[in-house]
């Protein structure tokens, strides 16, 4: 296994002819959790889609283990790289087990549509995400957090080394957000899966991310470990927000405290 799972060289991604990312060189480290942060419209989702082979680059190349992603057969890529988009929808009436089973698609052929391995992987995915008792229920009858876990279970069944997730916590309440992030953290620790995710919440990004990439207007402003990246100057530059950075009393990672207009009587700006 190489140090970098995915690299881009001079990557340009565009929507409707408008370039969002221009000539970007980036490396995603293997076995680490990388988090993309930045304001709305900075291109983090676009970059993720480009990395995940969902967007064809206008220029430049994305390398998966030193081969261009678009030169590899689609199914081979799908066996190594899995992407969970924002707000996915499942057809009505689909059960959790059926949803997770979809993740085996890249391994199935006309003759082998449901091999023993497929079955094992699905059961393992259900076990890791603790969804066994929900396995036969329809996906739409689950709570937000459980539903997201089911989708993650699907990408787990896909058994890829690299997991790309676009805002996996955005529509969840706080408890469920932590539930999902903890799950991803466990996957990274126990199985050394490379995780790249887009997160809106800066503090969660600092706590769970090994490597942060801050983006603004299609460019990378800073990248590195949270302690290095999360500075008051950077937050001001990228988000236009005044803040104070302190140490998170629970995790020790940087904690960003925004300074707005309402400040405590006892506080000093």
């Amino acid at each position: 296994m190489t140090d970098t799972a995915l690299t881009t060289r001079k990557l340009t991604l565009a929507y409707d002819g408008k370039p969002i990312i221009e000539s970007l060189d980036l490396a995603i480290l293997t076995g680490k959790i990388t988090v993309l942060v930045g304001p709305n419209g900075c291109g983090k989702s676009t970059l993720l889609k480009g990395l995940g082979r969902l967007l064809k680059p206008k220029q430049g190349i994305v390398y998966l283990d030193s081969t261009s992603i678009f030169k590899l057969p689609t199914k081979k890529v799908a066996q190594q790289l899995g992407l969970l988009p924002q707000g996915p929808t499942a057809p009505e009436g689909l059960t959790v087990r059926e949803l997770v089973a979809q993740g085996r698609y890249p391994y199935q052929t006309w003759l082998q549509q449901w091999s023993e391995e497929d079955e094992k992987e699905v059961e393992a995915a259900l076990a890791i995400t603790e969804l066994q008792k929900f396995a036969d229920r329809p996906v739409d009858s689950l709570s937000g957090g459980q539903r997201q876990r089911a989708w993650i279970a699907m990408t787990l069944a896909q058994n890829t080394q690299i997991l790309l997730l676009d805002e996996p916590t955005t529509f969840l309440d706080l408890a469920h957000q932590i539930e999902v992030l903890d799950l991803l953290y466990d996957l990274n620790q126990q199985e050394e899966r490379t995780i790249v995710m887009v997160l809106h919440e800066l503090n969660q990004a600092c706590r769970y991310g090994d490597h942060l990439i801050a983006m603004k207007e299609g460019q990378v402003c800073a990248q590195g470990i949270p302690h290095q990246v999360m500075t008051e100057a950077l937050v001001k530059d990228v988000f236009g927000l005044d803040c104070r950075i302190v140490s998170d009393p629970v995790a020790g990672t940087p904690l960003c405290i925004p300074i707005g207009r309402k400040v405590s009587v006892h506080g000093v700006v």
Binding site: G52, R53, P85, P88, P106, Q108, W114, D136
Partner: protein, 349 residues
Amino acid sequence: MEKTGQSQWLILRTGFLSTRLDQRVPRVLLGLALVTLLAMVWSVGQGEYPVPPLDVVRTVLGLPTDNPDYGFIINTLRLPRTLVAWGVGMALAIAGTLTQGIARNPLAAPGIIGVNAGASLAAVSLIVAFPGVPVGLLPLAAFLGALTVAVLIYLLAWNGGTSPVRLILVGVGLSLVAGALTSLMITFGNIFDVSQALVWLTGSVYGRSWSQVMAFTPWLVVFGLLSLVLSRELNALQMGDEVARSLGSRLEWQRGWLLLSSVALAGAAVATAGGIAFVGLMAPHIARQLVGPSHEGLLPTAALTGGMVVVVADLIGRLLFAPIELPCGIVTAVIGAPYFLYLLIRDRK
């Protein structure tokens, strides 16, 4: 074959073959087949010269019966007609399931996206504009009409790729054009030819013979099997374009093949029996209620449901105002609409 403890599925595994099916599927398929068989036997026995059911079975199996005429009546006149009804119902149901899958919209049916309209236009034009042309050419014309529309839809909707919304909208537009041209034929054609064309338009299996069964069956078999093989792809498509791509699906290829199958089946069906309403819309819905959304089981179930519906509709059409025959297309519309509404009511929370 082994059946595991997973409550939902039936898993078949031999040496190099493996597949899984929702466990409701075999029971449902059997039930549908049984009802269809009964309806067919009853239907074949109906008509100007009624034939008792037991004799129907005997005649079809080639065993001797009291009345030597039964052979002719059943084997030459009535059996092919009922078989056509069954086949056409299956084809329309599969086409509808495919279209709904591609469009990810439960209201999409080949009828709405203009495939039926194209086939009808071609056939009606042939009947009205060239009345001398032999009836045998109709299926070919209708199929060409359907194919033309499908190709047009794909070409016109292509803008660096397709999208379900564009496909539907372009299909609707083309459907309206075809409808207008058909209207033109109906308004200005010779009244007798137009009457004939209208009957054909509504969908009927009256007078269908073995030659039609022979012409139609290959289409059903080839594209029906193709669709079955593509069921996994269809399942992946249902998750949304992004997830499907992430799973390694080659979207444009799949959509192309699926659209082709849908058109081929719908076109062949319309060519053989005219535009039978509602089957492509109804059968997939009913099947989904019975066996769930996974296409490995959904496709065969929808097919058998569609076949059953048309056979029963034909039977009703012949029974209701005997000896006058109502085209089965009208019956499917009349039973289809209330059924649809019943589904609507039943689903209410």
